[in-house]
């Protein structure tokens, strides 16, 4: 966690709070939330996924670069693959679900393997910083070849008054500087 978003980004220091032990109830709740989220996306239930997003969602995927060790600049703060809020995510979802969007019809099958989860107490009450690794395996049509995308995800998860977890912020730091799939008509 040595690089944080700066310049024009809303994020402040990530993972600065107390680290949660894996046996703590909140850790397990968030773990379950991430599993649920991945399952919704894997089953192409985009409206279901939308319901897990906070009204203030910021969903970003910066352009990454191969840099020398210690440069501290392996991802960009302005150049992005995704930079979304709730309105733009809903726009994308509506396009996939309600219109003739050839990129997602038939939909590609993407499976998300989420692991390496670490959780810290975040800013504000019931807010958590959540880091995870994701492996997305994407299969299209009858092609046996699969596209692989791997990334670190830095999330902020907040629990509402009723105790439901919602995704407030996600930054996807992809390991590939040349993304190995033909489009991002999928969410990571």
């Amino acid at each position: 966690m040595n690089e944080t978003m700066t310049a024009g980004q809303t994020a402040t220091a990530f993972a600065a709070g107390r680290r949660l032990r894996a046996a703590e109830p909140r850790f397990l709740e968030i773990l379950e939330f991430l599993w649920e989220e991945a399952a919704l996306l894997d089953s192409d239930d985009l409206p279901g996924w939308r319901d897990l997003l906070d009204e203030e969602i910021r969903y970003r995927m910066p352009v990454c670069l191969t840099r020398r060790r210690g440069s501290g600049e392996s991802f960009e703060t302005e150049a992005m693959h995704f930079d979304e809020d709730l309105a733009s995510l809903q726009f994308r979802i509506r396009r996939f679900v309600e219109t003739q969007a050839w990129a997602a019809d038939p939909p590609s099958r993407a499976r998300r393997f989420v692991t390496g989860i670490r959780i810290w107490e975040g800013r504000g009450k019931d807010s958590y910083d959540v880091a995870s690794s994701v492996l997305v395996v994407r299969t299209m049509d009858d092609d046996f070849r699969t596209d692989l995308v791997t990334a670190e995800r830095r999330d902020r998860v907040r629990f509402s008054g009723e105790g439901a977890a919602r995704l407030v912020e996600r930054t996807i730091i992809c390991d590939q500087t040349t993304i190995g799939t033909h489009n991002l008509a999928i969410f990571l």
Partner: protein, 460 residues
């Protein structure tokens, strides 16, 4: 493979010219499949063409560099001490080791990791470790042959182009009549464009020509971008081709460059401006993509009357440079934060990797003088519409990959792509731009001109 005087011939006896039927205006789909054709393209097109690598604003200070591919070759784009830009092969002249192993950075010299030979920002060989003990005077005598291989460079709208072939036509000759259009779009303001960060890079499982030849294809909007119509960002009147961007002015030049301009005069009625208004009034009422009224005020300092009229009435939408570049500027599409409108400002480059694979780079262009809100609006609308996650371009990728899947089959490869929709030269009164001008419905004329150029450089 080559039979002198009769054009390029493939190993099964077929000539390249047999694949491009200029009478019937058809192209054999085989051109997207064969390794032999691909290898010929790399040699005849990409090793000798002007290719876009980076934007000046990516490397503002001496010593700043980015690493890119020019054709198949890895290269460094470096800001030199005197502020000029150099493009050098990223391969050490000692034994060929990759010289620089990061994609972006800042360095006064480039030192090879293998034996430590060092090169300057200008590519000059500086020295080798233990040079005396190892070589005596040998290297000093041959030092002039040890500089990094450099490319010729040219700059347009801040975009840096390079050409490995020092005997190739110079950059201005390469642009030809197309320069007039490009400068109108890219050099309209006093300070010009910059790019927002480094480009997106992605792979596409398709032949590079499927993108390159599509640039002048206005016809696909209605079907392939049907969802843009459903989302209310294109095709406001489903039955009116103009609202799908299919009406305007197409242009091609002998160099294979193609241009599509969309007629925006419709927009003036929305803005309450009559067509009898002056060019300046029209531009102020409906600034071209990415500009605001203050920038429009600078246009007369940089553009001719005819260029201003072009931007006012039929601003360039897709500007394709043969073989591997385009600029795309569009206003009035959805996807900005409020689901409303904003400018989409893109520069793209593509690098062939294999007959069925190319890499694509997408930059976002923004006027240097853009106020923060316009900059942010441009950044967001662009990445949501274009590039790897852009909802317009997502669908284009389906067509390129879909054709590539077809040509895996030997029967499909015997089919042809067809370009018989012909408009012919239609040059509006007082139109200042050069090249072949096709005003009206966007038919196949400009696309066919691309294939004619392709056939020519392939030695058909």
């Amino acid at each position: 493979m080559m039979a002198e005087g009769s054009g390029a011939q493939l190993s099964d006896g077929v000539f390249i010219r047999d694949l491009i039927d200029t009478e019937a205006r058809e192209v054999s789909l085989r051109v997207h499949h064969d390794r032999e054709i691909f290898d010929l393209e790399m040699e005849r097109i990409f090793a000798r063409s002007w290719l876009p690598l980076a934007h000046e604003s990516e490397i503002p200070n001496p010593g700043d560099f980015v690493r890119r591919y020019a054709g198949q070759d890895s290269c460094l784009v470096v800001r030199r001490e005197d502020g000029s830009i150099g493009v050098m092969l990223n391969a050490c002249t000692h034994r060929g080791m990759t010289l620089c192993r990061e994609e972006k950075g800042h360095s006064q010299t480039f030192k090879c990791p293998y034996h430590g030979w060092a090169f300057g920002k200008d590519g000059r060989f500086l020295g080798a470790p233990f040079e005396k003990q190892m070589y005596g005077e040998v290297l000093r005598e041959t030092a002039d042959d040890l500089h990094l291989v450099t490319a010729k460079t040219g700059i347009l709208g801040g975009m840096i182009f390079a050409n490995w072939d020092h005997d190739a036509e110079d950059f201005e000759a390469y642009l030809g009549d197309f320069a007039w259009y490009l400068r109108a779009a890219l050099e309209r303001t006093n300070r010009g464009f910059e790019v927002i960060g480094p480009p997106q890079r992605q792979i596409m499982r398709a032949n590079w020509k499927l993108l390159a030849e599509q640039l002048a294809d206005g016809y696909h909007a209605r079907a392939l971008h049907e969802s843009a119509g459903d989302m209310g960002t294109l095709g406001h009147d489903v039955h009116d081709p103009a609202s799908w961007g299919m009406v305007g002015i197409n242009v091609s030049t002998p160099g294979g460059h193609t241009l599509r301009c969309i007629d925006t005069r419709l927009a003036y009625s929305f803005a309450g401006i009559g067509n009898d208004a002056s060019v300046a009034e029209r531009l102020a009422a409906v600034p071209p993509p990415g500009a605001n009224a203050e920038m429009v005020a600078q246009f007369p300092e940089n553009l001719s009357e005819g260029q201003m009229r072009l931007l006012a009435d039929t601003p360039p939408l897709v500007m394709g440079l043969f073989p591997g570049t385009d600029f795309f500027m569009l206003m009035s599409v959805g996807g900005s934060a409020d689901g409303g409108h904003g400018p989409v400002m893109v520069a793209r480059a593509w690098t062939p990797r294999a007959p069925d694979l190319f890499e694509m780079l997408t930059w976002t262009l923004v006027e240097r003088d853009a106020p923060p809100e316009l900059r942010e609006q441009t950044r967001l609308t662009t990445l949501r519409n274009f590039g790897i996650s852009g909802f317009i371009e997502q669908d284009d990728a389906e067509a390129w990959q879909g054709i590539q899947r077809s040509v895996q089959g030997p029967v499909a490869r015997r089919m042809t792509a067809k370009y018989q929709a012909r408009l012919g030269i239609v040059r509006p009164d007082d139109f200042e731009g050069g090249g072949d001008v096709y005003a009206g419905f966007s038919r196949d004329d400009a696309q066919w001109a691309w294939w004619k150029r392709y056939a020519e450089v392939m030695g058909a």
